[in-house]
C-alpha cells in the first residue's frame, strides 16, 4: 500500500522535502487514526527509534542540495530521510539535459536502482512510484528521464507518476526549452502520466492568494506540496468502505484513459494565508462553483476567473459553421477530490456535465471523485481537481515554438552534441510534441 518517491535534481529535492513536510504535518494532526495510519504507511516507514522515515530516494549530481534537504528534514523534528537513501556526485549536469541523460544516467543507473529497490523492499506492497524533478535543469530532467525509463523496465506493473516543475516563462535557464522538450517527449513515451506544476502559475498563487511579498522558492514549493498532498493523501473508498489502497493506480485509471493524453494539471480551492484562514468560512456550493469555473476558464486560482466563459464544446454560428467557445478549456478527464466537513452532502453534478468533455467518451469514464471527511492541512473544507485537459496546451505550444526558433539557428546544439544528442534526436522530440499539441488541440 506504499508509494516510493524519487527526488531528482535541485528542484526535485527541494519540492520533495516540502511534500513530505505537508504529508507529515497533515497526517500527524489528523484526528482520524485510520487516515493517519494509512497516510503513514503510504509515504513513511518506521525508523530505528519508531520515528518516521520518508519512503524516498534523493538523487542529485552535486552535493549541496542533498545535504541541505536532509538537514531541513532533520530540523522538522517530525520525520527524516532514510540514513542511506541518497546519492550524489560532486558536480552537477550544468543544465545540460544530454549530460544527465547520456552520461550520468547510464553511469549511475545501478546505484540508483539499488537505492530504489531497498526502499521498495521495505514496503509491504508497492503501489506506485512518484518521481519529482524540474524540466529545465540537467540532472532532474536528463537523468530523471533516464531513470524513469529504467524504473519502467524494472517495475513493469507499477504505476509511475512523474511530477514535473515547469520553468518560469523567462529568466532562469536559457536552454530550458530544449531541456524541457527533450524531457517531455521522452517521458511521453513510457510514463503513465505527467503531473505538471508551472512555476509562473504557482508564483501568482503565492502573490495573490497567499499574500507573500518576497516570494522565495520555499514559498512556491509549499504551494506545490499542498496541491500534491491534497491529491495523494488517503481518501475513503465507498466500494470497500475503507481507505483506498492503490492511490496512484486509481489516479491513473481515472485520468489517463487514452495513451495520447498524459498531461495533468491541478487546481485547488480554497488557498490562503493562515491568518486569513482563521477568519474564513466555506460552503461547498460556492467552493465547487468556483472550482468548476476555474476549470472551464482555465484559471489556476479563484482570483481573476473569467466568468463569461461557458462550457460548450461546439456552437453552430448563424452561417452554419462550427466554432469553438473562446477560452473554453475542454477536458478529457477530471478527478475531483473533496476533503473535510460535510463532504457527503456536497453537490458535484456540475462536474458531470457532458459539455465539459469530449463526445467520444461516456461521462462516467471521464469523471471520478474521491472524498474524505478528514479536513486537509487545517482547511475545514477543500477541493482539489486534477484534470487531463487542454490546460497545458498553450504553455506547451509556446515552449515548443521557442525551442523550435532557437533550433532553427542551431544555437546551443553543440553543447548537446558533446554528450551524444544529435540534431536528429531534437527533431524526434519536436515530432513527438507536435503530435501531442495536435491531439490536445483537436479535443
Amino acid at each position: 500500500m506504499s508509494v516510493v518517491t524519487v527526488q531528482l535534481g535541485q528542484c526535485g529535492n527541494q519540492v520533495g522535502q516540502e511534500f513530505f513536510n505537508v504529508l507529515c504535518n497533515d497526517s500527524s494532526n489528523a484526528k482520524d487514526k485510520h487516515y493517519k495510519d494509512c497516510s503513514h504507511e503510504r509515504f513513511f516507514r518506521e525508523g530505528p527509534s519508531q520515528d518516521l522515515r520518508a519512503r524516498a530516494v534523493l538523487i542529485d549530481m552535486e552535493p549541496k542540495v542533498i545535504s541541505q534537504t536532509i538537514a531541513k528534514a532533520v530540523k522538522s523534528d517530525k520525520w527524516r530521510y532514510g540514513e542511506k537513501s541518497h546519492f550524489c556526485q560532486k558536480q552537477g549536469s550544468g543544465n545540460n539535459w544530454a549530460n544527465g541523460f547520456s552520461v550520468h544516467g547510464p553511469k549511475h543507473e545501478e546505484v540508483v536502482q539499488d537505492l530504489v529497490r531497498k526502499e521498495v523492499e521495505q514496503c509491504d506492497r508497492l503501489t506506485g512510484i512518484l518521481t519529482m524533478m524540474s524540466l529545465a535543469g540537467g540532472t532532474g530532467s536528463g537523468m530523471g528521464t533516464y531513470i524513469t525509463q529504467c524504473l519502467r523496465d524494472t517495475y513493469p506493473h507499477t504505476s509511475i507518476l512523474n511530477h514535473v516543475t515547469w520553468p518560469y516563462n523567462t529568466g532562469e535557464v536559457i536552454v530550458q526549452n530544449y531541456n524541457s522538450i527533450l524531457t517531455l517527449s521522452h517521458l511521453y513515451q513510457f510514463s503513465d502520466a505527467i503531473l505538471v506544476h508551472e512555476n509562473d502559475a504557482v508564483h501568482k498563487i503565492c502573490a495573490q492568494l497567499m499574500n507573500i511579498k518576497h516570494i522565495s522558492f520555499n514559498d512556491v514549493n509549499k504551494v506545490i506540496a499542498h496541491h500534491l498532498g491534497s491529491t495523494l493523501q488517503p481518501v475513503y473508498s465507498t466500494s470497500s468502505s475503507c481507505y483506498s489502497r492503490n492511490p496512484i493506480g486509481e489516479f491513473m485509471s481515472s485520468l489517463v484513459n487514452h495513451p495520447e493524453y498524459k498531461l495533468l494539471s491541478v487546481r485547488n480551492i480554497p488557498q490562503m494565508s493562515s491568518t486569513s484562514l482563521a477568519y474564513s468560512v466555506f460552503h461547498w456550493p460556492s467552493l465547487l462553483k468556483h472550482l468548476r469555473q476555474m476549470l472551464i476558464a482555465n484559471a489556476r486560482m479563484e482570483e481573476g476567473i473569467d466568468w463569461a466563459v461557458r462550457a460548450r464544446s461546439v456552437s453552430i454560428s448563424d452561417k452554419g459553421r462550427t466554432t469553438r467557445e473562446p477560452g473554453f478549456n475542454k477536458s478529457l478527464a477530471n478527478l475531483l477530490i473533496l476533503r473535510g466537513k460535510d463532504v457527503s452532502g456536497a453537490e458535484i453534478g456540475g462536474f458531470k456535465d457532458p459539455a465539459l468533455y469530449v463526445p467520444w467518451l461516456p461521462v462516467e469514464s471521464a469523471f471520478s471523485s474521491w472524498s474524505s471527511s478528514v479536513p486537509f492541512s487545517g482547511y475545514e473544507k477543500s477541493a482539489t481537481l486534477v484534470s487531463n485537459s487542454q490546460s497545458l496546451l498553450a504553455p506547451l505550444n509556446n515552449m515548443v515554438g521557442k525551442a523550435w526558433n532557437m533550433f532553427a539557428s542551431r544555437a546551443y546544439i553543440h553543447q548537446y552534441m558533446k554528450f551524444a544528442i544529435s540534431e536528429e534526436d531534437f527533431l524526434d522530440s519536436f515530432t513527438v510534441l507536435e503530435q501531442v499539441i495536435s491531439s490536445y488541440s483537436q479535443l
Partner: protein
C-alpha cells in the same frame, strides 16, 4: 563539491591573482567563523598540516584549518612581482613549488612569451598543473588570469591555455583577460593582443574581457563617491570591493584598486559554486547558458552595487537600482554599451538577501529596454547564492554575451593595422623561433571573422523576425 585551479601568468596576471587570493581568504574568514576546513574553502584552497612532513595531509573537509594553500600556479618570466608576493602577507599561501619564474622577461613580445618560453617551460608548467590537479578530487575549472598587452601573460598565458586543453580536455577553461587601454605604455600591445585573441577564440571555453580604461573609470567613480557627500568614512573599511589592505605588499600600489575589481568579479562568479543557495549556478552552467556558438564566448561583466558600499540597510528601491546599474554603460568592466547592442544571452548572479520575486520583478522591468536576439528572447539565466560579499547585504554580477564587444575588438584591429602597415617592430617578432609572418595574418583573419560573426548578429537587431514555421506532422 568541485575544485578550481587558478593559473596566473605575467605581471598583470599575478597582481590580479593576488588580489583574488586576498579577498577570497577574507571572504571565507568572514563566513567561516569556526575555522573549519569546509567544502566551500576546499574549492580554492588545500589544507596542509605542516607538522607532518609528507606535504599532503588533511584534504578531508570537516577538520580544523591548519595551513591553507592556494590551488594556484604562478608563472612569470620576471622575478619582480613573484618575489614581492613571497615577501608579502600572502607568502604562506603559496609553496615555492607552485612558482615558475625566469629572470629576463618577455620584453612585451608575445612571440618570446609564447614560443621561446613556451617551449622552454612546457614540461615544468605541465608538471606543476598536474600536481595541483592531483590534489583535487573533482577538478572542474581552470581560471587563467593574464593581460593581453604584454609578452608573458599574453604569449605564455595563451600557450598555457593550449596546454591545459591538451592535458585536461574535460576541465573548463575560463579566462580573465585584461585588455590594454588606447594610451597603454606598451607600444606593441596591439600585436600582442591580436595574437592572443586568436588563441582565446580557439581554446577558451569562455573569456571575461576586462579593459583597463573601464577599471580606471570605475575606481575614480568610487573615489568620487567617497569624497563627495558622504565623506570618506562612508565607505566601510572591510569592504572587499576597493580596500587594498593586505595586498601584495603593505602599501597600496597603482593597480591595486583596479585589480580589486577584477578580483571581485572572480569572487562573485565562483560564489554560487562555493556557497549554498536556493538556485545554485555551478561553473559548468556558465558556458551552457551563455555560449550559443562555440567561438562567440566573450562575456561582458558588470558588478553592482559599486558605490552604495556604505549602506547596510538598503531599502528595496536600492535593490532595484542594483539591477538597473548592471546594464548601464558605466558599470561594465569593458568600454561597451550592452543596452544599445544585441544580447545573445544574459546571466544574473545574485548574492545575499535577494529572493526569486526580486529577480522576476527586475527581469520583467528591464526586459523591454534590452534588445535580445530573435531566437533567444527569453535569454536569461539566474543564480542565487545566499552568502553576500563581506560588508554587503547583497550584490549582483551580470554576465552578458553581447555584440557590444565588437567596438573594442575593432579598435584593437585598427591599432594593430597602424603598426602592421609600417611593419613596426615586426622583426623583433619574426626573429623568434616558431614565429612566422603567417601568425600575424592568421590572427588578424581570425579576429576579423569573429567581428564579422558578431556583426551579422548585431544587424538583426530591431528587425522583427517572423517565427520559423513549425515542423509539420502527418495528422
Amino acid at each position: 563539491m568541485t575544485q578550481s585551479i587558478v593559473v596566473q601568468v605575467g605581471q598583470c596576471g599575478n597582481q590580479v591573482g593576488c588580489r583574488f587570493w586576498d579577498l577570497a581568504l577574507r571572504e571565507h574568514a568572514h563566513v567561516n567563523k569556526k575555522g573549519i576546513y569546509d567544502e566551500a574553502l576546499s574549492s580554492f584552497f588545500r589544507n596542509i598540516d605542516t607538522r607532518k612532513n609528507d606535504g599532503g595531509a588533511s584534504q578531508i573537509t570537516g577538520g580544523k584549518i591548519s595551513t591553507l594553500k592556494a590551488r594556484a600556479v604562478l608563472v612569470d618570466m620576471e622575478e619582480g612581482v613573484v618575489n614581492e608576493i613571497l615577501q608579502g602577507p600572502l607568502r604562506e599561501v603559496f609553496d615555492s613549488t607552485q612558482l615558475i619564474t625566469d629572470v629576463s622577461g618577455s620584453g612585451n613580445n608575445w612571440a618570446v612569451g609564447h614560443w621561446t618560453y613556451g617551449s622552454a617551460y612546457r614540461d615544468q608548467i605541465v608538471e606543476q598543473v598536474r600536481r595541483a590537479a592531483e590534489h583535487c578530487d573533482c577538478l572542474q575549472c581552470f581560471f587563467l588570469i593574464h593581460s593581453m598587452g604584454g609578452g608573458t601573460g599574453s604569449g605564455l598565458g595563451t600557450y598555457v591555455l593550449k596546454l591545459l586543453e591538451e592535458e585536461f580536455p574535460e576541465v573548463y577553461r575560463i579566462v580573465t583577460s585584461v585588455y590594454p587601454s588606447a594610451e597603454d605604455d606598451v607600444i606593441t600591445s596591439p600585436y600582442n593582443s591580436i595574437l592572443a585573441m586568436r588563441e582565446l577564440t580557439e581554446h577558451a571555453d569562455c573569456v571575461l574581457p576586462v579593459e583597463n580604461q573601464s577599471l580606471v573609470d570605475i575606481v575614480n567613480k568610487i573615489r568620487h563617491m567617497a569624497h563627495s557627500g558622504k565623506g570618506v568614512s562612508a565607505i566601510k573599511k572591510d569592504c572587499t570591493v576597493i580596500s587594498s589592505q593586505g595586498g601584495v605588499s603593505g602599501v597600496e600600489k597603482p593597480f591595486d584598486g583596479m585589480n580589486n575589481i577584477v578580483a571581485n568579479l572572480l569572487l562573485n562568479i565562483t560564489s554560487s559554486a562555493r556557497f549554498e543557495g536556493s538556485l545554485n549556478m555551478d561553473l559548468n552552467e556558465i558556458t551552457m547558458n551563455l555560449v550559443p556558438f562555440p567561438r562567440l564566448h566573450y562575456l561582458v561583466s558588470s558588478l553592482t552595487p559599486l558605490y552604495t558600499l556604505a549602506d547596510v540597510n538598503i531599502p528595496t528601491r536600492r535593490l532595484d537600482q542594483m539591477f538597473s546599474d548592471a546594464f548601464s554603460k558605466e558599470h561594465q568592466l569593458m568600454r561597451a554599451d550592452p543596452k544599445h547592442s544585441l544580447y545573445l544571452a544574459c546571466a544574473l548572479m545574485v548574492r545575499g538577501n535577494v529572493q526569486v520575486s526580486d529577480l522576476r520583478r527586475n527581469i520583467e522591468r528591464l526586459k523591454p529596454t534590452l534588445p535580445f536576439v530573435s531566437w533567444n528572447q527569453e535569454g536569461w539565466k539566474t543564480g542565487m547564492c545566499s552568502v553576500p560579499p563581506v560588508g554587503h547585504t547583497h550584490a549582483l554580477l551580470a554576465l552578458a554575451n553581447n555584440t557590444c564587444v565588437r567596438p573594442t575588438f575593432m579598435d584593437l584591429r585598427e591599432r594593430f593595422g597602424k603598426l602592421y602597415r609600417k611593419k613596426a617592430h615586426l622583426h623583433h617578432y619574426l626573429q623568434v623561433e616558431g614565429m612566422e609572418q603567417a601568425c600575424f595574418t592568421e590572427a588578424l583573419s581570425s579576429l576579423s571573422s569573429l567581428i564579422e560573426e558578431y556583426s551579422q548578429l548585431d544587424a538583426t537587431k530591431g528587425i522583427c523576425m517572423p517565427d520559423t514555421s513549425r515542423l509539420s506532422i502527418a495528422t
